[in-house]
Amino acid sequence: MDLGGINPVILIATLMASAVPILLAALGETVVERAGVLNLGVEGMMVIGALGGFIVAVQTGSPVMGFIGGAVAGAVLSLIFAALTQVFLANQVATGLALTLFGLGVSSLGGQGYNGIKPPPTGQLLPDVLADLPVVGPILFGHDWVVYFSILMTAVLWWVLKSTRIGLIIRAVGESHEAAHALGYKVNRIRLMCIAFGGAMAGMGGAYVSLARVPQWVDGITAGAGWIALAIVVFASWKPWRVLIGAYLFGGITVLQLNLQVAGSIIPVEYLSMAPYLITILVLVIMSAGRKGKVNGAPAALGQNFHASR
């Protein structure tokens, strides 16, 4: 079954994999923003995770260790952001941007000598018997473990944020840090932990780019995925399942435009590769149109630093 040279089953299967980096990063950023912190350094944490994961995987020969390494690298970088915004009360927008510039620099410095190496492959999780089934096989059973992990994380975060005590505390801190502080919660400490979690998720998403999607190390490998992840959080109104939908939508567009490029479409390649960014803008417009003031569902204390004066 082919539509203009594109097989829809393969398309859906590939989009699920290609959405993983932005899905993981956007889920992490959702938690960070629900706690009231706007970390614009997602791109930097992703690219550091991509490099960290790549180096660990190549050195140990284990892709699983690579993903853990990527998560650790992202979390470590995010701690710089946490220290600056939570301890030194620096402007979150400026610090996030600095984190991205710094991350891109560090990764291109640390990545020297890793070009052209192939990382150990991350294979399919389930046996071929299942993956070879028609239609449902490639879509449901043909993926590596990270794809399932990303879907699992969506469900876990939805549950944690919605119906656990931890989720309630995180949301309280993000909606009204004054009230949370008055109740005795350590606002800055909770935010610091959320930032580290967001860094780990972004780092793991980055590692998926360099270990599974590309898979090799190139400078600036994430190519704006972190910024798209930030846009998806707004698109999703800070809700995990909508983050999944958003990520799959953008994964789909990316895969589709690549397929169209290969299939030799009449639209020039340059215009196709603009598509994901233009559609991101379009979706942002649709999501925020017609609403005055704060965007729908934005945590009330988003982007504001907290200093306990009393």
Partner: protein
């Protein structure tokens, strides 16, 4: 552990002292980084900060300083106006590229006509291109309340693809033997942005940067619009009662920063870069964000910060050719500078207190 105590009023001393302190801290941390890379830290720091101004080749490198500082200052001043008002234009890199493409397209369209008016018209086209690209996030922000950070940033990637298309397609040199890139402006005097005074590296971009610095300073300190910008940033509610229209402010600030970034792109492409090519842009639009903060969002401070940042570029190139320091190390160095600046900045508004010291209660 220490605790922070808010100052009743921001400290005047620390307002001016933070940038030098941040530079010194960055030199120390950078020195450790360079030492870890197996270089002599003192030699690297000297190569970056001393040699371009006073070293053996300073007669040439001093000129390079203004060449690099010009675009950084132009872009950073525009960004700072917006940052002051709480409007975050992060896509200056895209506006810079579009300014270059618009301006260059006008010049190349009339090639090889020689007329004194060609360059001024190209300058206007460049500013227009940047302005137009900045108007997209501005209009979307005012009409649909869309986040200007994300939109302006997405447009950088779009501009980069348009640039790729321009240098391999519609602006490609027809006599370029199939190589990507436009005609070189150095062989087209009417459209060339040559040096006015070479020993100082002064071309029209440098003139524009210095003039803009002064004009922006006057705007911020002496003009109604400058007052409104500052008011909107510090007290948005008070600004509304004062009659400041947030939408008009967004359009004004984004427009100015876009036009200035476009100008910087045009001056760069017709001067130092020479032609439209896939990678003629070197990230000035992003580095300018650091410059804006380093200059304390103050136009005169930005002029100084622009020169300091240019020093790290020029000195970094020296360190890269003479000492084999990777280019990326300079990028890390610049990132660290911004981190330290943001960290030290806490002293402007807060003071550190030990828990047992007098007055801590």
């Amino acid at each position: 552990m220490f605790r922070l105590e808010k100052r009743p009023t921001p400290s005047k001393f620390w307002l001016y002292a933070t940038p030098p302190v941040a530079v010194i801290l960055t030199m120390i941390a950078g020195g450790i980084l360079f030492a870890a890379m197996g270089k002599n830290p003192f030699e690297v720091i000297r190569t970056i900060f001393w040699d371009p101004v006073f070293g053996e080749f300073a007669f040439y490198l001093r000129g390079q300083l203004l060449v690099k500082a010009g675009p950084l200052i132009l872009i950073a001043i525009g960004l700072a106006l917006g940052f002051r008002a709480g409007i975050w234009n992060i896509g200056a890199e895209g506006q810079y590229i579009m300014g270059a493409i618009f301006g260059a397209a006008v010049g190349l369209a009339v090639f090889p006509t020689e007329n004194r008016l060609i360059f001024p018209v190209m300058v206007i086209a460049g500013a227009f291109g940047g302005w137009l690209w900045a108007m997209i996030p501005a209009i979307l922000k005012t009409r649909f309340n869309t986040n200007e950070i994300l939109v302006s940033l997405m447009l950088v990637y779009v501009a980069e693809t348009i640039l790729a298309k321009a240098s391999t397609g519609f602006l490609k040199n027809p006599e370029g033997m199939g190589f990507p890139g436009s005609r070189n402006f150095s062989s087209y005097p009417a459209a060339q942005n040559g040096f006015i005074y070479e020993p100082l590296g002064l071309h029209w971009g440098g003139v524009a940067a210095l003039v803009t610095g002064v004009l922006a300073y006057i705007l911020l300190t002496r003009h109604q619009a400058g007052f409104q910008i500052k008011l909107a940033g510090q007290a948005p509610r008070a600004a509304r009662f004062h009659g400041v229209s947030p939408a008009r402010l967004v359009v004004l600030c984004m427009g100015i920063s876009g036009a200035l970034a476009g100008l910087a792109g045009l001056f760069e492409v017709t001067g130092p870069a020479g032609q439209i090519s896939i990678d003629f842009n070197t990230g000035y639009g992003f580095t300018a964000i650091i410059v804006a903060f380093l200059g304390r969002l103050n136009p005169l401070g930005i002029v100084l910060a622009g020169f300091l940042m240019a020093l790290t570029y020029v000195g970094g190139e020296m360190a890269s050719t003479n000492l084999g320091l990777p280019d990326a190390a300079i990028q890390v160095f610049q990132g660290m500078l911004l981190f330290f600046l943001l960290a030290v900045d806490v002293l402007t508004n807060y003071r550190f207190r030990l828990p047992f010291s007098v007055g801590a209660k």
